[in-house]
């Protein structure tokens, strides 16, 4: 190991200064004073493990990624030392991968140093402090397109239609309640055995309204007949339904 005995001790104290285990590894590798491609991975592993061990004696709370790296390096060291050829080959590959990672980090650190050495705007060189704004913005023109016009038309119509649908539609159908009231009031004033259709209200325009009113009036008639208020008669299936007051029955019966 080429590092002096004092170095690990000082590194323990500086562990917080490293940005992760790879950072420390790169620093240790650079201490070997050789090309990164030819560093001794074994030396590197031993140095790293020594640093971690030293740090653990002082502080137990070492971050997980430091310990994971230490465990992985311990595995790597065991593979590199094994006499078994296959195992050693896996170790060689892992060692090459580690050297490549260190090389990549080293390159990026060099790039950062190169950037840092550039004349930096606002530090080493200055641009014009008061640039002149000579451009004008003309917003007089309109941006119009046909799809926009169509979308607007649809949106307007849909909204208006939605507004209309919200209003409850007027009730135009003749209800049973209305039929009961009309039948009751007209009954006394009509001659015997009158067609049910003559009790329908006036001014029913659509066939739907006529059918609805007829059905309501029939239901009302059945209800009144049940209470004995009137009598119903039908001569033949689908023939006209006739209505008469109970007074009529008395006359007929008498």
């Amino acid at each position: 190991m080429s590092t002096s005995d004092a170095a690990p001790q000082s590194l323990v104290l500086q562990l917080d200064g490293f940005e992760g285990p790879l950072d420390l590894l790169l620093d240790l590798a650079r201490r070997q004073k050789v090309d990164l491609a030819r560093i001794s991975i074994l030396d590197l592993v031993e140095q790293f493990l020594a640093v971690i061990e030293g740090a653990r004696q002082i502080r137990l709370e070492l971050a997980a990624d430091w310990l994971v790296m230490a465990a992985w390096l311990a595995w790597l060291k065991s593979r590199l030392l094994l006499p078994d050829a296959a195992e050693a080959e896996a170790g060689e590959e892992a060692a090459e991968a580690l050297a490549a990672r260190l090389g990549a980090l080293q390159a990026m650190r060099a790039a950062a140093a190169w950037l840092g050495g550039r004349p930096l705007l606002g530090h080493d060189v200055f641009a014009r402090g008061a640039p002149e704004e000579l451009s004008e913005i003309d917003r007089s023109r309109l941006l119009l397109d046909l799809p926009g016009l169509i979308r607007a038309y649809l949106a307007a119509r849909r909204r208006a239609a939605a507004g209309r649908r919200y209003r409850p539609p007027p009730l135009t159908l003749w209800s049973v309640k209305e039929a009961l009231s009309r039948l009751g009031s007209l009954l006394g004033s009509l001659p015997d055995w009158t067609s049910l259709e003559r009790f329908l209200p006036a001014g029913l325009a659509s066939p739907l309204e006529q059918r609805a009113a007829l059905a309501s009036t029939l239901v009302a008639g059945l209800e009144l007949a049940r209470g004995g208020t009137l009598r119903l008669r039908q001569e033949a299936p689908f023939g006209p339904i006739l209505v008469a007051s109970p007074a009529g029955r008395a006359r007929e019966g008498g």
């Binding site: 913005i137 309109l142 016009l149 649809l154 119509r157 939605a162």
Partner: protein
């Protein structure tokens, strides 16, 4: 850093360089006093600035006195050449676009009719915006109580939308896939 090479104006070139850089990099006009702080003692900062102004006279950028200091400014005769006009067309507000669409499809149409179709009141500002853009124009009056103005689109409307004529607007029937939604008459009960 300060060499003693004197320029044609008899002042050290280094002083002129520093003044030039300082005025260039400063966000605000530079006072002679500020420059004097960077120059060796006993240097006449006013003289340095005067020499700098003389050097830039007639160039594309000139040293001008502004607010008690000096600043570089584009030469007045060049400013118009450099002025760029950036056209950023604006969109019509939604209410105006909807109103325009209704006028396009229902013309000639009165203001109350537009409001009925849109289901919302039509503000004078919206109408004014369309009139100002020359997209709509009055087209006579309706022979009904109050004789309200009838509105129609203009040739400028067709030009703006790239339409040969009003007949080239998409047909209204093709716009509404579901017939129920935009029914014009009050909704009729579903037929039996």
């Amino acid at each position: 850093m300060m060499d003693d090479d004197s320029g044609a104006d008899g002042l050290p070139e280094a002083h002129l360089r520093l003044a030039e850089a300082l005025v260039f990099a400063s966000a605000a006009p530079v006072q002679a006093r500020a420059l004097a702080q960077l120059l060796p003692e006993d240097t006449d900062a006013d003289a340095v600035l005067a020499a700098l102004r003389a050097r830039y006279a007639g160039r594309g950028v000139e040293l001008v006195e502004i607010a008690g200091g000096v600043q570089f400014r584009t030469a007045p005769d060049l400013a118009p050449l450099l002025r760029r006009v950036i056209a950023i067309p604006r969109r019509l507000p939604r209410a105006a676009m909807e109103t325009l669409a209704i006028i396009a499809y229902h013309q000639p149409v009165t203001r109350p009719e537009i409001e009925e179709i849109r289901g919302a009141a039509l503000s004078q500002a919206t109408l004014d915006a369309l009139l100002e853009a020359a997209l709509i124009a009055p087209k006579g009056r309706k022979e009904s109580p109050g004789r309200p103005t009838l509105w129609a689109t203009t040739p400028a409307f067709l030009a703006q939308f790239g339409l040969p004529g009003l007949r080239d607007l998409p047909r209204r029937e093709d716009l509404f896939v579901e017939p129920a939604a935009p029914a014009d008459p009050p909704a009729e009960a579903p037929d039996a």
